[in-house]
């Protein structure tokens, strides 16, 4: 009897289980279809909702797609971001597969093969000019147009913006934003990354550590709390890449932007907030002719080249002059000056560079600045009266009134050329040294063999060991002494503005370590093995906040993160693209990265804020999905 009872209980329980499941399943089926399209948190305020509702209009009922497209989102490493974006897109109703590629090469292999629907990528406006922020990726002739955007109207707008002055171009770039993001949806904005630098305040003077928005970290202004340490204590820093591209400004890439920026001087620089300045540059000042296509730079005479002798940096005694600047810019413009020149297209707009010697004509050229002549503008910045101009750099003598002027003209009015001249690739090289080292390549480019021929600046010249023959001649505040797999040593250039208190470098040695792993670099910072560290992961700030030794400086960078579309797949449909745009809740992204990300609209936002925002809105997502469903009959 007892057995029978227990069996009965068991069967009863199974029966209950099944009835329960059955009933629940009914409820489930009827509710899921609507629920899935609404994200858990609705950030849009009530007014925004009202707006979007009116934008949608009360025309006809929304069609719910029968089947949502399955999309593949390609990532380059970024595991944390993949978790956030996958979640947002799934909450919007997409079926999302994530494809995380371990490195740049495999990421772009997939992009080139078109094996993706969305790709999480970024664009950095390294020179802070709005033209640079859109041209390379979104112009049909752009050198980095990997997603094959070809829109004549957008090209036209970009060209128009390029030819205008800052006062004029605001409305043009605003129009570009509206068109490329709002109307055509050529990118789904995700965020702007914060650029942070953490420094060891017990050693470094926090004031001297700058965190510029676009330009590379500036070395010559660094100071220790204890000035007596400048000679003895090397400044320690780290980066990931240990395999360096050449110390030749026009061949710089991510591995050497900072090195080339600090080892070669330019005619102008960018301030921390991306304005043009002549601080720490080769020019006292510049003047723009009223045509908008002529630029005059009045050069300093207290910058000398340095070279390495017996393992230390010495002043060569050779002045950095107008001839070198003109040579370097001509070289930057020439596609064939080095193999695979990556930057020449930036200089397309330049018509001619020359050493300008005609003082009289200078006085008669009107400048853009309030009725003054170019001469007047330049004279205001000069330390003494400009008595004569010379084309021989060794003859320059500012205190005696002998100056040098560089004149650059553009093919059409292009004020943003100044930003290009502030870019790393415009660094001034020693004409003699480069022509000497590259003589064979210059005379016969076809004979160049990448395996055996080392061109100027390549790391093989200054890697420790048998092949060591450091023939670098640098115009900037520092010069590389030697390098191995673990570090690269730099020393200050004794001939760099020696009497200038602010910009003469003080710290003798810079020891740049190569640390591949972010966690290791962070530990090194805390252990005092490095003095500053860039881009600490969001989770680490809590740890540092409790430690008064460390100080973090923060600024929104020009790194624009966005989802690029594959226009050959489902995203050839503009409504689907817009649905993705509105599904990406940038406020949640910022939240997930603990405030280390800032909402954005277009790549221009960080350079020229027009105040446009793209609010995530489930209603808009539903609307665009419905439009997509109607169009494709899905």
């Amino acid at each position: 009897m007892k057995n029978l009872r227990s069996i009965a209980i068991c069967l009863f329980s199974v029966a209950i289980l099944f009835t329960g499941c059955y009933k629940k399943a009914d409820v489930e089926n009827s509710s899921t279809s609507n629920a899935s399209a609404v994200p858990a948190i609705t950030p849009a305020s009530s007014t925004d909702e009202a707006e979007s509702n009116s934008a949608i209009g009360s025309s006809d009922e929304l069609a719910v797609p029968k089947e949502m497209p399955e999309i593949t989102v390609l990532f380059n490493g970024n595991q944390e971001m993949s978790v956030v974006l996958q979640d947002l897109l799934e909450k919007a109703g997409f079926k999302v597969a994530v494809d995380i590629q371990p490195d740049n090469a495999s990421f772009y292999t997939k992009v080139d093969a078109g094996n993706f629907d969305l790709a999480f990528t970024y664009w950095t406006t390294t020179i802070g000019s709005p033209d640079y922020s859109v041209r390379s990726v979104w112009h049909s002739d752009g050198s980095r147009n990997s997603y094959h955007i070809n829109d004549p109207k957008l090209d036209e707008l970009i060209e128009l913006g390029a030819s205008q002055t800052p006062e004029e171009y605001i409305s043009t770039y605003s129009e570009i934003e509206d068109y490329m993001i709002g109307e055509m949806a050529y990118a789904a904005p995700v965020d702007i990354q914060m650029k942070d630098i953490t420094l060891n305040a017990s050693i470094l003077d926090p004031e001297s550590v700058r965190n510029p928005k676009s330009r590379a970290f500036q070395w010559e202004v660094l100071r220790y709390n204890d000035p007596s340490q400048h000679e003895t204590l090397p400044f320690l820093m780290s980066q990931v890449a240990a395999d360096l591209s050449p110390m030749d400004p026009i061949r710089a890439d991510n591995s050497t932007f900072q090195f080339n920026t600090n080892c070669y001087i330019r005619l102008v620089n960018l301030t921390d907030s991306d304005e043009i300045t002549t601080d720490a540059s080769l020019a006292y000042d510049y003047a723009i002719g009223d045509s908008g296509s002529d630029f005059y730079f009045l050069l300093r005479d207290d910058v000398f080249f340095s070279k390495v002798e017996n393992g230390h940096a010495v002043n060569t005694g050779e002045r950095v002059g107008a001839e070198d600047a003109v040579y370097s810019l001509d070289r930057a413009k020439d596609k064939n000056s080095v193999p695979n020149h990556p930057n020449y297209s930036q200089y397309d707009s330049i018509d001619k560079n020359e050493v300008f010697t005609d003082l009289d004509s200078l006085k008669s050229i009107p400048s853009k600045t309030g009725g003054k002549s170019v001469y007047d503008v330049l004279q205001e910045a000069a330390p003494s009266a400009i008595a004569s101009l010379t084309d021989d750099k060794s003859a320059a003598n500012n205190s005696g009134g002998v100056y040098q002027i560089v004149h650059t003209s553009t093919k059409y009015p292009f004020p943003q050329i100044l930003n290009v001249l502030a870019h790393t690739s415009s660094g001034v090289l020693s004409k003699d040294q480069v022509e000497k080292v590259n003589a064979k390549y210059i005379s016969d480019p076809d004979s160049y063999n990448v395996q055996t021929d080392a061109l100027y600046g390549e790391q093989s010249w200054y890697i420790e060991g048998e092949g060591y023959d450091n023939n670098l001649v640098c115009s900037g505040p520092y010069i590389p002494i030697k390098k191995n797999d673990y570090q690269c040593i730099f020393e200050l250039n004794p001939g760099f503005m020696p009497t200038d208190e602010t910009y003469a470098p003080k710290i003798k040695t810079i020891d740049y370590k190569f640390i591949k792993d972010a966690e290791t670099a962070f530990s090194a910072l805390r252990a005092g093995e490095i003095h500053v560290l860039y881009t600490i992961s969001a989770s680490k700030f809590d740890i540092l906040n409790s430690d008064p030794t460390f100080m973090t400086k923060d600024t929104p960078s020009n790194i624009y993160h966005y989802l690029a579309y594959n226009y050959n797949g489902v995203f050839s449909n503009i409504n689907l693209r817009k649905a993705v745009q509105h599904a990406i809740d940038q406020e949640l992204v910022a939240l997930a990265f603990q405030g280390r990300r800032v909402p954005t609209y277009s790549p221009i936002t960080s350079v020229l804020s027009t105040g446009k925002v793209l609010k995530a809105d489930p209603d808009m997502v539903a609307y665009y999905l419905s439009e997509w469903a109607k169009e494709t009959g899905n």
């Binding site: 057995n3 068991c10 209950i16 289980l17 629940k24 993949s82 978790v83 994530v98 989770s539």
Partner: protein, 504 residues
Amino acid sequence: MNGKNQFLKKAQARKLQRFPELNALNISWAASFSLALLLLFNSFDWELKGFIVDSPAFYVAALYLIPAGLSLSLSICSARGIARSGAIPVFVRRISLLLAPFALAGNIFAAIAGFTTVKKSKSLEYQLLTCAFLNNLMVIMTASLNFFKDSLPDYFAPAISALAFTLAFYLAAMAALHRAQKTGGYKRLYPIAFASILTAATGNIFALILGLAIISKIRSSDSNRTIEWIETLRRIFRNYMAVLGMLVIIFLVTLSVCSIFTFDYAIATTNDYSNMLKPPSLAFPFGTDDVGRCVFTRIVFGARISLFIGIIATAIPLIAGGFLGSVAGNYGSKLDNGIMRILDIFHAVPSTLLTIAIVAAFGASTFNLIIALSLSNIPVYARTMRAQVMVVSNNEFVEAARACGRRKYEILFKHIIPNSLAPMIVRASVSIGIAVLSTSSLSYLGLGVEPKIPEWGNILKVGSKYLETNPYLAVYPGIFIIILVLAFNFLGDGLRDALDPKMK
């Protein structure tokens, strides 16, 4: 005099060893006491220099001290009883039942001690039923933590009630078993066996084994004849640690099956930005991670993936390696040489390197991961099987079969392979643990399953970023990986002992 004392001591120790009850009681008080200490340590406020009396940890600690004291006194009493009369006193057995309810406080050691001590002659069926009962009880208790969440999963109520009914059934079955053993009506247990197999749908493998054991016992005509696999099982159940390992594994299996109904997968995978990096609480027992997912729920669902990958990635090389090894061992000469040299090439590549290479080449996905883990393990199994086959094929019964004119492949599959399986099973049980560990470490390196999926290595990877600020994010998945691997190792040890002919 001294020598005699030592001899007596040893004799006494041997006597005590014969009683598994004593072992269970000792483990019970030691484990309960250490857990109580751990919880007390947790409820200690270092700033106020005092215990936080109203914290849950403090109450649970007090709850653990009771069975600790009880088990300790029972253990002393029974040791004395054994010394005096050679048996555990009856009152100890009666009182020990008081230990069983502490299972409700999560004290599984006390419960095992209680169930072990209360009954003098423990049949295999009784032990299986106890384990099945404890197993489902733990699953219910784990699922009950969901009551503290804002919402319950859709099928929660029916699933929990079904599980509760299985508990009732196991208790009833225990009573029925007791009667059947007393009155001898073993054949009447047929319905119990079938019902028990039915309850194995929850993932409770103990119930499945119980059902099969009862059925095969009833069906075997001669009650005096022993059934080989049941004997093996009996030997496993003599080993406390092996049982504990089995309990952990089957608990995780049951949890994985039942979590379909008792847990909400969305909580494990959907980001909730209003609950980021929350410390452990009743609603989030293991805290929440950096995008607000409940780590506890993620670990529960992670068990399914880890176990699935572990078992499949062991089954494939077990079958493939076993087949290749037995063919090589049986047919010998050129075939042997060919197969083994090819496998040697595989074996020469470090297995982790091979796995990473395969995953890196074909992309990170669960399927590729399983293939990668399997491939690198085939040679190991093949070697074991080949050696075993060569040993077994020299036995007389193989010769006899050959003399009877059996074909070679028939001898291989009917006689040699079944007798060569023991070391393979042991190796497999241990290597499941290793496979789980490899999956976790590959996920940790970013080569395993995609980051959204709640695999234990993935959870650990997220936690490792917060080791200094939110250590619990890494500690809990770490503990679970350790427990699972240990459980498989204990079970493997127990299996090896149980299958060892010398131990029979």
